[in-house]
């Protein structure tokens, strides 16, 4: 077990190194950089190449690519992500401001997603091929196809048209600072994101439940006269939700993706929005740092999920 964890962790670090290299060369080898981007967006008309070169020299972008790559890797080994070109704050500092918002929103999205997906999956499986099943499956097919920015926009339209509630947000409050205001702010993005993330989980839970419902021990449980409720909750759900766990790992990547859109739409100063800014401005150190942190979260969530799998299901041996 320990050996397995160590081996997987080393493989993950290898994967992160490939990620770092890919991002580094993608942003350094292709034409254009932070300096030229700044001049272009400042609309100064024609800028002399010397001015751009001077700006590049200040940022250290004029050095040979492999030298820059070497420094980048050496800094990485020491957990130094450098400082943002734009704000001049360290990338860790930027992350420290942004991560709490993203975790708040992310956790809310996951909570909404699973509170919808689990009952829906169970009902859909128990009422297989009856009206509730068709309706819920139809809803899942729709949720899988509808872009998150569209469902969020529709929600905004409905709130505006019917005056459902006042969005009265003062600044950018955290949940623990001003729960009421923060919840109003997060309400639409958390439901839009949750619904988008829920479809895959629901469909998988349904098909797993259907498989387990046909198992011999369920027949036995029925034969000895257990109430249907006990059978579903105790015998079926327990055995059906393990594969769902794996999907949770994959959902993390999807949720981070939809968070970029939602944070951008609702002005949440989280990692997604920061990442989008870093990409558009070509703020190289910030971009590299953020991508690495996101990739770290993704690969280690997957490892964590695999470990949980082994913990919950003794039949799964990790070696």
């Amino acid at each position: 077990m320990q050996q397995y964890i160590v081996r997987r962790a080393i493989l993950n670090i290898f994967v992160l190194w490939i990620v770092a290299t890919l991002v580094f060369f993608a942003v350094h080898v292709l034409p254009g950089n932070f300096a030229s981007q700044q001049f272009a967006s400042a609309n100064l008309g024609s800028v002399s190449p010397e001015a751009i070169a001077r700006a590049e020299a200040v940022l250290g972008l004029d050095r040979p690519v492999f030298e820059q790559y070497g420094t980048f890797l050496w800094d990485l080994v020491r957990f130094d992500l450098g400082e943002s070109f734009r704000s001049k704050r360290s990338v860790w500092n930027e992350l420290g401001r942004a991560v709490p918002y993203s975790i708040e929103l992310g956790v809310l999205i996951v909570l909404v997603g699973f509170t919808i997906a689990i009952p829906v999956g169970i009902i859909s499986a128990v009422k297989q091929d009856q009206l509730p099943d068709y309706v819920l499956r139809g809803g899942a097919i729709f949720a899988l196809a509808a872009p998150v920015f569209w469902t969020a926009s529709i929600a905004v339209i409905l709130v505006l048209q019917w005056d459902l509630f006042k969005i009265d947000v003062d600044g950018q409050p955290h949940l623990w600072e001003n729960p009421k205001s923060a919840l109003q702010w997060y309400l639409i993005p958390m439901f839009a994101g949750g619904i988008a993330g829920t479809a895959t989980t629901m469909r998988l839970l349904r098909s797993q439940m259907l498989e387990v419902l046909r198992a011999d021990y369920v027949v036995t449980a029925r034969a000895k006269g257990l109430p249907e409720r006990t059978i579903v909750m105790r015998h079926v759900l327990r055995n059906a939700w393990l594969p769902v766990l794996t999907v949770m790992g994959l959902t993390v990547a999807t949720i981070i993706g939809s968070q970029i859109v939602l944070e951008q739409m609702f002005n949440v100063p989280g990692v997604g929005r920061l990442l989008f800014q870093a990409i558009t401005l070509r703020d190289t150190p910030l971009l590299e740092g953020l991508v690495l942190v996101v990739a770290f979260v993704v690969v280690f969530t997957n490892l964590f999920v695999d470990l949980l799998y082994g913990l919950f299901d003794p039949r799964v041996r990790l070696a």
Binding site: P147, W150, S153, T280, V294, V298
Partner: protein
């Protein structure tokens, strides 16, 4: 037992006439539509959108960039300076027909610039189709090469290729696409390539496991015994037998690529100079309170087409290879 007549048994040539093939294909299609109603529904919508994309000029009713104008209800022949300051358009008899609600003239209404939203939604189908098919084709082609090499040779080649795939997988798809599109010129071609690149790990993983399954089979061993080269085995023996997986991989990803392009365009990083549904949703957001129509219809088109491709892909998978359920 009498030995089979050599003249009819050999050579193994496909003697079915073209007519038989057409009819058997038609029967297969009929069976597909009967068994997979949702898949058939998806197929009909996909075909419908294909027709709209191909004949957008004729079916869109209006030119997608034409600016409609309308009579100015507030028109005054000689406005005073104060009135002009309040309403700059007051002196002109006709104004841009912006933000019109759906009507007989404009089925989906008009946008901020007085353009017909219906025409723009229809023209937007072109980009969505090009993106969906193009990106999926690139992903499957590259995934095929990587998947076959990886599964056929195994060993350290497989190990390295798979870790590189893991690395691409570790980027959330959207971040990868945004990054690639932003550092290259955001043209349709580049967006197609970026999406296709992002889809490679998904395609390669499916194809790799299909090749792994074929690799150990008797006919591959037999080919190896008679001394066929690796290349010949892959091309002549393995490839024809993973056709179903290739079709599934191709069709099941299309919806995701269309969705990703819409998202990238919504964020303002999509192909320029093209009508994109994602960008329409974004531009409609400027006036959601008075005129939700542009966002509603453009987003509805995305949802409908993505849903159709997903349903069609799922149905094809169930028919061609039910073992792949759950991918």
């Amino acid at each position: 037992m009498t030995p089979p007549d050599a003249s009819t048994a050999l050579p193994f040539r496909d003697r079915t006439s073209p007519l038989t093939r057409v009819t058997s294909a038609a029967f297969a299609l009929g069976r597909f539509l009967r068994q997979k109603k949702l898949g058939g529904f998806g197929l009909v919508i996909v075909l419908g959108f294909s027709v709209l994309a191909l004949f957008a000029g004729a079916l869109g009713r209006y030119d997608s960039t034409f600016v409609f104008d309308t009579e100015n209800p507030n028109f005054k022949a000689d406005p005073t300076v104060a009135e002009l300051a309040e309403d700059p358009d007051i002196g002109s008899p006709r104004v841009v027909a912006q933000f019109q609600a759906p009507s007989g003239d404009h089925w989906f209404g008009t946008d901020r610039f007085g353009r017909d939203i219906y025409a723009r939604v229809i023209h937007g189908a072109k980009l969505a189709m090009i993106i969906g098919f193009g990106a999926s084709l690139i992903a499957v082609a590259a995934g095929l090469i990587i998947g076959v090499i990886s599964a056929y040779y195994l060993g350290w080649i497989d190990l390295i290729l798979q870790r590189v795939m893991d690395a691409i997988y570790a980027f959330p798809f959207l971040i990868l696409i945004l990054l690639l599109v932003q550092i290259s010129e955001p043209s349709t071609r580049n967006v197609v390539f970026a999406l296709g690149f992002g889809g490679i790990p998904f395609a390669a993983r499916l194809i790799r496991s299909a090749v792994l399954a074929e690799r150990g089979s008797e006919y591959v061993q037999a080919a190896r015994v008679i001394g066929a080269s690796d290349f010949r085995i892959m091309l002549q023996h393995v490839l024809p037998n993973i056709g179903a997986v290739l079709i599934i991989t191709f069709s099941i990803g299309i919806g995701a690529y269309i969705l990703a392009e819409a998202t990238v365009s919504f964020l303002g990083a999509g192909p320029r100079n093209e009508i994109s549904w994602g960008r329409m949703v974004s531009s409609g957001r400027g006036a959601l309170d008075i005129h939700p129509w542009e966002s509603v219809f453009a987003g509805g088109a995305i949802t409908l087409l993505v849903m159709a491709f997903n349903l069609l892909g799922d149905a094809l998978r169930d028919v061609l290879d039910p073992r792949l359920r759950g991918v």
